[in-house]
């Protein structure tokens, strides 16, 4: 059967494209196409029940899981404990706060999505409780400096500390895993 050989050569080209692609979303779309071609190959290899399972699982559910996982990774979750009237994190038409501008530039440089939650973390119920927090912002009562707290293991926190090393108002503290943020 010549069609089996043609489908298998097509599979080889698709896998080479998946290896060499730089964009992850594009690779997921080509992985879905790969699964569809595999399903038709199973049908020609006299296994129709496998083709049915592969169309449902391989080309629909698995790319959905990949896309959900990638969109969860592209978030930078910030919890601020300073008051809302403070101009540090303000983002309106007239004034853009200093801290907001810093975090916005930082997350745009790494292709992340900035999510800021105001108020006490303990009062946030539901979906926010189980999430990983990347950064906590506080205002020191002694000298009025802004304190940014993050995980010690994260590479992003090291880059943020290097960016703000010349700034007098901002202080970056890294914390070991297991300690409490507040």
């Amino acid at each position: 059967m010549i069609i089996i050989y043609m489908l298998q050569i097509l599979l080889i080209f698709l896998s080479i494209y998946i290896i060499s692609s730089k964009n992850n979303l594009k690779a997921i779309i080509f992985f879905s196409i790969f699964s569809l071609v595999t399903a038709s190959l199973y049908y020609f290899l006299k296994a129709p029940d496998l083709a049915l399972a592969e169309v449902a699982i391989g080309s629909a559910i698995t790319p959905l899981i990949y896309i959900i996982a990638i969109s969860k990774q592209r978030e930078f979750l910030v919890v601020s404990h300073i008051s809302k009237r403070d101009s540090f994190l303000l983002n309106t038409k007239d004034t853009v706060g200093k801290g907001y501008k810093l975090l916005d530039d930082f997350t745009k440089h790494y292709n992340l999505k900035l999510v800021i939650n105001h108020g006490k973390y303990d009062e946030l119920k539901g979906i926010f409780r189980s999430r990983n927090i990347d950064l906590v912002i506080e205002k020191s009562k002694k000298n009025g400096r802004y304190i940014l707290k993050g995980k010690k293991t994260s590479i992003l926190m090291n880059k943020l500390a290097q960016l703000t090393i010349t700034d007098d108002d901002i202080e970056v503290i890294t914390i070991e895993e297991g300690e409490i943020y507040d």
């Binding site: 298998q8 080479i16 699964s35 699982i57 990949y66």
Partner: protein, 114 residues
């Protein structure tokens, strides 16, 4: 059927090479799935040597001597479902790794860990 074995083996070799050069964790999990489907193709080729009918008794195919072996198909339908579950587990671990280390690059992770 011999050419079919060789083509499936080439697909297996390409994806193993891809895992060894890939920089991203997501790409590695994707290539693991490709390895799994190439192994499934090899098993199905073993079952269908010298046979021409699907393993379902009907009016069209009453002669059971011409049917393919249904045992590898029954094994491989389990492999597809377990592969989907392992993919979900690996992606969940990659989300945890990203929030802990801030990167998904293999080289940066190994340097970070020492």
């Amino acid at each position: 059927m011999k050419i079919s074995f060789i083509l499936a083996f080439i697909l297996l070799c390409i994806s193993i090479y891809g895992i060894s050069v890939s920089k991203n964790i997501i790409k590695s999990i994707m290539l693991y799935n490709i390895i799994q489907s190439s192994v499934i193709i090899i098993f199905l080729n073993f079952g269908s040597i010298g046979a021409s009918d699907i393993p379902i008794i009907s009016e069209l195919s009453e002669n059971t001597a011409n049917m393919v072996d249904p045992l590898p198909q029954a094994l491989m339908i389990t492999a597809i479902v377990i592969g989907a579950a392992i993919t979900a587990l690996g992606l969940m671990l990659s989300i945890k790794i990203f929030h802990y280390y801030g990167t998904l690059n293999w080289k940066d992770l190994i340097e970070r860990e020492g």
